[in-house]
Structures are given as structure tokens and as C-alpha cells.
């Protein structure tokens, strides 16, 4: 028989003013298992806690029920209190007779007292069924993985590496740098993107704690916090990295020309290439889909010209498995596929381009050497029209959210057009102008006032060609007037969307993603860089539209969280997790898809059965991954799965107690 002690708190008059606490304490004495019951003015106070500790010792209690405020308030307090008295923390149960009773039934004292009795009775019934639980420790591998080598990934890696942790950056492109490498100037300071990014790229590549794993992708993630076993596919580069010096002869001699993705298809690259001149690592890869040798078996020029013999056509994709303690995901964004906006003529008219194209056009190392020229005929445009919110804030055709960066980069583009082209005119169609951020509003005002950009509030209904002009037809909703502008070039500010394969990556790692496939943070306010999977953190635009400063800030935040995890050699885990009763489990696996943390696997056990050794499947809960939601327990028909501290029997005991 268990010996339960009940402690009823008056909380001054907060509870005592409504609930007849001495009476509750008196009645509780008759509840099954209760050997001691007392009320006190302030249970959480030093004397109150002493009272509990004393009673545990003197009354030889093995369970404690505290009826007071919400456990969300003082559960840790009372757990510590009983622990100090030598009792397992989980032998303590609380009954919430303040928030759930005295405060909400202030004028019904008798009924509130009756309710308090019931709540205590339920807590007693549960406490009797409570089992001692211990926090477990799991080892933490001091190595971090950063997925995505854009500015966010680089920043997170540098912060982690500087804190003394080994970091691997996995980047699917041949070079790190990401979208920022393609950008010309950065708002609101207009300093050159490459000038601030490339030193960081160099830092990352030369840092003793950082390993770059470029042209590679995450294939599989197993394990759990502190112990992720990640399989990385290193795609065949066809170039031996250990031999190649990056001299570039192969690239200059390669006869196959391909549209350059980095240059937004505005110029050509070779089949053996680095995406851009400052690429890191600055060693080429062979694009096998476009290489004459791989397509026809003939050519082999690169191999012939490489005096070091670095070209290796026989390379194959390589898979490496590495254990990491923490993972930072920084896979960034892509541009919204705005071909759904047929009315803007993208694809039909070469002079209708996106903001990212424009970045390459104004970039000094871009295809036009920084001269703004129309892709169609190379002429310098005079009238440039910008259309904002292409795909953003459009529930019908695009995305419901605001892409956040477009207002600012469009303003930046507008100033650059005006600066670079004399007598040019800039028109900007907008829905709203949103310039939250340090120096942003000032920048926008300058764009309008000093650079004379014409902001037209309204949407464009159609872009069509007339002669060599593009006619942009829209409405100025402030003047309620139809507007038609003869443009030489139209720039679309397309929405930011996550990488096309973001949801697949999320499934591999076991994190959540929203309806737009942005990864979901553990809490939008209080855990913005954590995910629901412990040890996995988010940085940059993969979590939602962000500009560079925000991405960098979040990257550092994610790195700080990861550092916190990696700085210890082992970590404590919550003991409230699901457990499998293997003798009952039939191994049907219905629980497996229920778990949001992929914490349940099926494993084979062997046992003796009627004199024969048999093998059978049973569910296996990974204590490192399980977060204790208990959804799996309901999926288990036979009740082989149960949640510690909220077991079927404990909940049934509470239900039964209520109904006595």
C-alpha cells in the first residue's frame, strides 16, 4: 500500500478565499492511500516546502500530492522539493485548485471546495500509480553538419568552428556562396555583395575546423540528437580534387557550351566548369549531362589538356556516413516559378526578366560586365518597369505570404538603374511598400525623392509588345486611372520559395514544414531557430523569407544553440517517453507512421517459443528522439505502447477516481 501525503495550499487568499482548504485536507484523509493531509498558507514558500520534506521523512511518505496553483507554475519547484527529501521527483503530483478552481468559481465556494476535493482525489489516484523515472544521459558527438553553404550556412559554420567545434558544410552546388554570390549590391548600404561574401567563403574554406563537402547532398539521416548518422552522397565531380590546382585550362579548352545557371542563363559556361570565378573550392566539375565525352564517348579534350591528370571519367558517386551531434539546415530559397503569370510575358519576351537576372545584368563580373543591356538586342533600356509581389501575397496564383525582401531590392534596383543609365525612367508597380529594417525606410525615401523612381500603387494587368517596346498596362489605384507605360525592360520581383526538394529533406531529417514547404520552427516566438527534432536547427530563408542581415543573425543564433548542445559530452533526456511492452507488441507497425519524430522503428527480436527459437518484429522507441506526445499509444490496439508518467493505467485511475 502506498503512503500518500496531501498538501493543500491556500495561496494566501487566492485559493483559501474560495476553497475551504482545511476541509479539503480533512476529506482527503479518507482517500485510499492517503496517510497524511495538511493545509498551509503558502506551500511554495520555504516553510511550506520544509513542511513537505519533514512529512516525507516523518510520515514515511512515498507519494506526494500538492494541491495549489497550476503545475505550469510550480511543478519544477515541488519536484525539486521532494527530490531534496530523497523522493523521486515523479512521485509528486499536483492538483490545480487555483487557476482551475478558486479563480474561476469565486462565487461558488461550496462547489469550488467540492471540485477541489475531486481534483485532489484524481491526483492521489494518479500519484499512487506513478513510477520512479530517471533522466537518462546520451552521449553527444562533437561535430556539426551544416546543410547548405549559402551565407547562412557559412556564418553558422564559422561561428561553430570558432567556438571550437568541427563542422562539415554540405553544398549541392560545386561551390559554396549560394544566392548571395549572385547578387550585385546589398541594400541599404549598396556595398558590393561579393566584397563582403568572398572573404567569408575563404575563411570557411581555410578554417581548420571546417570541411567543405561541395557537389554533395544529404541522402539519409538516422539517429537522434547528439548522434545523427548522416549519409552524404558525394556526386562524382570527374575531377580529382586532390590533384587539381584549379588552373582552368580544361575549362577554356572544353568545346561544350551550356547556359550558365549562375548567370541566370544569360551567358554560357562550359561542360567542365566552376559556377563563377571566385568559386570555392575553385576546382571544376564535369556536368555529365552536357559533356560530349559522357554523351558520345568521344572528346576527352579536358583529360588531354590537364597536365596533372586530374580528370577522372570513371569517378562514381560516393557515399559517406558520418556521425554528427547537431545539424543546422540552411538550404535557402529559390525563385517562385512565375510562369503562371502568363500576362507578364515571361518566357515570351526576353526583356521581361526577374530580379535575380537583373542582379547579374548590373554585376561588374556578370555577362554584360555590369552594363544594363536588354537581353533581346543588347540596347540600353531607358524606361524600366518593376513589378512587385509577383507570386507573393497572391492567394489565387501564388503564395499567401510576403517575400519580405522585394520592396528593398526593387528600390535598390531602381537606384542602380538611375545611377547607371542617364535619362532613364523607373516605374515601380506595388501593392504596399514595406521597409521595416534599419536604414530601410530612409533608403526607400531616397529612391523616390533623390532618384525619382515613380511608385505606382496597383497591379499590372498585362505586358505586351508593341514594336520594340513592352507596353505595361496596369492601374494606378490611388488615382483610379488606367496606366500604360512604354517600357524597354520589365523586371519582376518574384516570390521567395523554399528549395523544390525541401519537403523531401524535411522528411529525411524528420522535421516539420508548412503549407509552403518552409521548415517549421519549434515555436514561432520562443524557439525560432529550433525544430521539433532536438538537435536540428534552422538558419536563413529555408525557414521563411529573409534578407541577408536576418539570415546571418539567425545563423549565429542557430550556431549558438548548436554550440550549447555540442559543448557537453553528454546530455540529459526527458524520462517521459513511450515504452514498448515487447511481450505484447505484435510488430504490426501501425505506430511507426504516427510518430512525428520518427522515433519508432521495428526491430527483430528472437525469443524462445514452445521450445523453438523464433524471430519476430517488435516496435522500438528511440528514447533520444521521442518527445513524449503519446500519439503512438492510441494507435496501438493491444496497448503494447504506453507513455511513461501518462500511462493507460494512470489515466484510467484518474478517470475512476473522478467518478467515485
Amino acid at each position: 500500500m502506498k503512503r500518500v501525503g496531501v498538501f493543500i495550499c491556500h495561496c494566501g487568499t487566492n485559493i483559501g478565499g474560495v476553497v475551504d482548504c482545511p476541509k479539503v485536507a480533512e476529506i482527503a484523509k479518507d482517500y485510499p492511500g492517503v496517510v497524511y493531509s495538511v493545509d498551509n498558507k503558502y506551500m511554495c514558500s520555504e516553510p511550506g516546502q520544509e513542511l513537505i520534506k519533514k512529512a516525507i521523512k516523518e510520515q514515511n511518505l512515498d507519494r506526494v500530492v500538492v494541491a495549489s496553483c497550476s503545475p505550469r507554475m510550480h511543478e519544477p519547484t515541488f519536484r525539486r522539493c521532494v527530490e531534496n527529501a530523497g523522493m523521486n521527483a515523479y512521485f509528486m503530483e499536483m492538483a490545480n485548485i487555483r487557476e482551475h478552481c478558486s479563480w474561476v468559481h469565486a462565487s461558488e465556494k461550496d462547489k469550488a471546495t467540492e471540485k477541489a476535493c475531486d481534483l485532489v482525489k484524481m491526483a492521489v489516484a494518479k500519484a499512487i500509480m506513478n513510477k520512479p523515472l530517471q533522466k537518462a544521459t546520451i552521449p553527444v558527438t562533437d561535430r556539426a553538419l551544416v546543410i547548405g553553404g549559402g551565407i547562412a550556412g557559412i556564418q553558422a559554420a564559422l561561428d561553430l568552428a570558432n567556438a571550437g567545434h568541427v563542422v562539415d558544410i554540405v553544398e549541392k552546388e560545386p561551390s559554396i556562396g549560394g544566392k548571395m554570390a549572385q547578387i550585385d549590391k546589398t541594400f541599404p548600404t549598396l556595398d558590393c555583395s561579393a566584397c563582403i561574401l568572398t572573404p567569408k567563403m575563404v575563411d570557411a574554406s581555410s578554417h581548420p575546423n571546417i570541411n567543405l563537402i561541395t557537389y554533395s547532398e544529404v541522402e539519409k539521416v538516422e539517429g537522434f540528437v547528439g548522434n545523427f548518422d548522416v549519409t552524404i552522397r558525394k556526386k562524382a565531380r570527374s575531377v580529382d580534387m586532390s590533384v587539381c590546382t584549379g588552373c582552368g585550362v580544361c575549362m577554356s579548352k572544353c568545346p561544350s557550351k551550356v547556359d550558365s545557371e549562375f548567370e541566370m542563363l544569360l551567358s554560357k559556361r562550359k561542360a567542365i566548369y566552376t559556377p563563377f570565378p571566385q568559386a570555392i573550392p575553385n576546382k571544376p566539375v564535369i556536368d555529365r549531362d552536357n559533356c560530349t565525352y559522357f554523351k558520345t564517348g568521344k572528346c576527352g579534350i579536358c583529360q588531354k589538356v590537364c597536365t596533372l591528370g586530374a580528370i577522372d571519367y570513371t569517378q562514381e558517386d560516393e557515399f559517406v556516413v558520418t556521425r554528427y551531434g547537431a545539424i543546422v539546415i540552411s538550404t535557402g530559397f529559390e525563385q517562385f516559378d512565375h510562369s503562371v503569370y502568363g500576362e507578364y510575358g515571361y518566357g515570351k519576351y526576353p526583356d521581361v526578366i526577374t530580379g535575380m537576372h537583373f542582379e547579374r545584368l548590373i554585376n561588374a563580373s556578370g555577362p554584360t560586365m555590369g552594363k544594363i543591356k536588354r537581353p533581346s538586342d543588347g540596347k540600353v533600356p531607358k524606361n524600366v518597369v518593376f513589378i512587385k509581389c509577383v507570386g507573393s501575397r497572391d492567394v489565387a496564383k501564388g503564395k499567401s505570404y510576403c517575400s519580405k525582401t522585394c520592396c528593398m531590392y526593387t528600390a535598390k534596383h531602381a537606384t542602380l538603374v538611375t545611377e547607371k543609365i542617364e535619362d532613364s525612367n523607373v516605374y515601380i508597380f506595388y501593392m504596399d511598400v514595406r521597409t521595416g529594417g534599419k536604414g530601410y525606410e530612409e533608403f526607400y525615401n531616397r529612391t523616390r525623392e533623390k532618384y525619382d523612381a515613380q511608385y505606382i500603387r496597383g497591379r499590372v494587368s498585362k505586358v505586351f509588345k508593341q514594336g520594340d517596346k513592352l507596353i505595361v498596362r496596369g492601374e494606378d489605384t490611388l488615382l483610379s486611372q488606367a496606366v500604360e507605360i512604354e517600357a524597354d525592360m520589365v523586371v519582376l520581383a518574384t516570390a521567395m520559395v523554399p528549395q523544390a526538394d525541401a519537403s523531401k529533406l524535411a522528411q529525411k531529417i524528420g522535421i516539420g514544414y508548412d503549407k509552403d514547404h518552409f521548415f517549421t520552427e519549434a515555436h514561432p516566438k520562443l524557439a525560432p531557430v529550433e525544430t521539433h527534432t532536438q538537435g536540428v536547427y534552422l538558419a536563413g530563408a529555408c525557414q521563411g523569407p529573409k534578407d541577408i542581415p536576418e539570415s546571418v543573425a539567425q545563423a549565429s543564433a542557430a550556431a549558438a544553440k548548436a554550440c550549447g548542445l555540442l559543448s557537453k559530452s553528454e546530455m540529459l533526456t526527458e524520462p517521459i517517453i513511450s515504452v514498448v511492452n515487447e511481450s505484447i507488441c505484435v510488430g504490426c507497425g501501425l505506430c511507426v507512421p504516427i510518430c512525428p519524430y520518427k522515433a519508432i522503428d521495428l526491430k527483430t527480436i528472437s525469443e524462445r517459443d514452445h521450445g523453438k527459437t523464433i524471430e519476430r518484429l517488435v516496435a522500438d522507441v528511440n528514447g533520444g528522439l521521442c518527445q513524449g506526445c503519446g500519439a503512438c499509444t492510441v494507435a496501438c490496439r493491444s496497448g503494447a505502447l504506453d507513455l511513461k508518467h501518462f500511462t493507460d493505467q494512470q489515466i484510467l485511475a484518474e478517470v475512476n477516481a473522478l467518478c467515485l
Binding site: 479518507d30 477516481a657 467515485l660
Partner: protein, 330 residues
Amino acid sequence: MLVVLKAKLKDILNTLAEEYKVLVPAKIEDTSKFISYKDNVDIILDENVKLSPKDVFFPQTEKMYKMKTVKTSMELENITDEAGKKLLFGVRSCDMKSLDCFDQVFLTKGYIDEFYKNKRDSVVTIALSCSQPMQTCFCSAMGVDSQKAVGADVQAYDLGDKIGLEAISDEGSKVIELIKGQLTEEGAEVPQPGEFYLKVDADGVSEKLNGMFESPIWDDVSKKCLNCGACTYVCPTCHCFDISQEVRGENVTKYRCWDSCMFGEYTQMAGGHNPRPTKKERVRNRFMHKLNYFPDRYNMLLCTGCGRCINVCPVNLDITSVIKQIKEAE
């Protein structure tokens, strides 16, 4: 013989209902069993009821006593059966024979089960002979006379459109006395039973089983068994029970309820060991009990040939086939 027209049967039952709580075989909710007689019940006389009358004497769930914890002590409270005599009308010979088996278990060999005894003592029985056995019947093979029940207070005979009545015991005479005015004396003969469809020869089966505990036939017989408890629950002779309790805070009610040796947890021990782990052991036990252990102890088979198990078995595991198999086994 005293007779009454079947059409006038209800008049007699009405008279008896003044003195007894009368239970009659009737159709109810797509099945049939013994229920309290009322004017509007759908009495069946042309075949036996699907559920045996054993629950009158041995309810599926039977409260035994109550306990109440008061502080540190405990109070016990007996549960008394409802008062008054019951009259069970229309019990067939097979089911009367099953009462004989029950009496052996619950009232002999130095142990008396009070719960059973109280109920048994309060019931007067009017047995009814069978004019035509059902297809699944094989009572004669089990030594049961379908025309003359054992232990009945009154024996009734199915005489076509009439029922003949004959007092057997003193209690039976009292019953006849009550309704004498509604009966007429006729020179009727005890009818001959009809032909049985199932041909069973159970002679010597008990003895033969003595050496057959390890016989391979149990593997064969048990394969199709689903280990449900249908056969045991409809069986008029199966009498296993489990004791459990309903706890409502300080109030505890001890009760017993039917259990079935077909169930896996029937022999499950607290430590996890199960001496009858598979259906083979369970099926063997059921037939050994009926045809060997029970005859050994009480000198009668624990099967009355009522055929109910054959009727309900989901997989047609047929006891008559099993008997045949036992007899044919080497």
C-alpha cells in the same frame, strides 16, 4: 396421463405464475433462451433453446459478496439472492442431465457451493420430452433419454397438439396440484423419440482416452479451432468460472463470471508461464475433461448431446467427429 392442449398452455402458466416466478423457453432478439414468462412472450416448443438454462443456476456474472474499507478495517457484506421459488418450464432431457452434472460439481464430494445451492434449491423443473430431435442432437449417444429427464420435478411429454404431464417428485406433485383443474386425464402413451441424424457411438471412449494424452490426433483436431469461447458458453455442462472484483474506491464487489478453457489467459499464471500455451493443449483439455476426466471423477460424461457447440462453432469443429476420431485412433 394428465394432458393439456398446447393452445391452452398459457392458461396453465398463468396459474403457475401466481405461485412461482416462471421461466419459459422463448425466442428473443434473434436468439432463444429461458426468460421470465409473460403473456406476450414467444414460447418455443418445437425445438430446444439456443442458450442453455445454465445461467438460471450459474449466472454468467454472479456477485458473491461486497467489501468496504473503513479507515483501516474492512466490512464484509453478503449478497442475498432474490427470494421466491422459480419454476423452469420446458427443460429438455439434455439440459436436465446437465443439471445432474452441475450437482456433482457443486454439491458433492464434501464441498457445497452455496451460491449454486441457493439457486438450485429455489427452482422447480418441468422437463419436456422431445418429439423430433434437431439435426445436431445426439443425446441418446450420451446416455440421455430424450423422453424421460433425470431429476425433473414434473415430466412433460410432447403429444402433438397436446402436452402430457406427470409428477415425478413431491415438489412436482404440488405443481400438478395447482393446475389440476386445467388438466384432463387421457390415456396417452409416452411417445417414441424420432430418428437422430448424427450417428455417434461413444461406448468406451472414456477408457480409450486414458492413454491418449499424447496422441497426435490433438494436433489434427485443434488446428481449425479459433480458441473462442462460443462452445463453452453455450454448453449446458461447462461450468468454469473466474473470480474477479469491481473496485469503486473503498467499495469492492467480488463476483464470479464464466470463463472458458478455450481462452489463452485461462491458464495464464501470474508469473507469465502458461501450461496450456497453444490451442492444442486447450482443445485437448476440453475434450479430455468432457470425455475422460469428468467420467473418471463423477462416473458420467460431461456432455449431454445437446449439440449446441456444433451449432455455434464458427469452424464446425464437431464433437461427434472428435469422438469418432478418438475411437478410430490407433
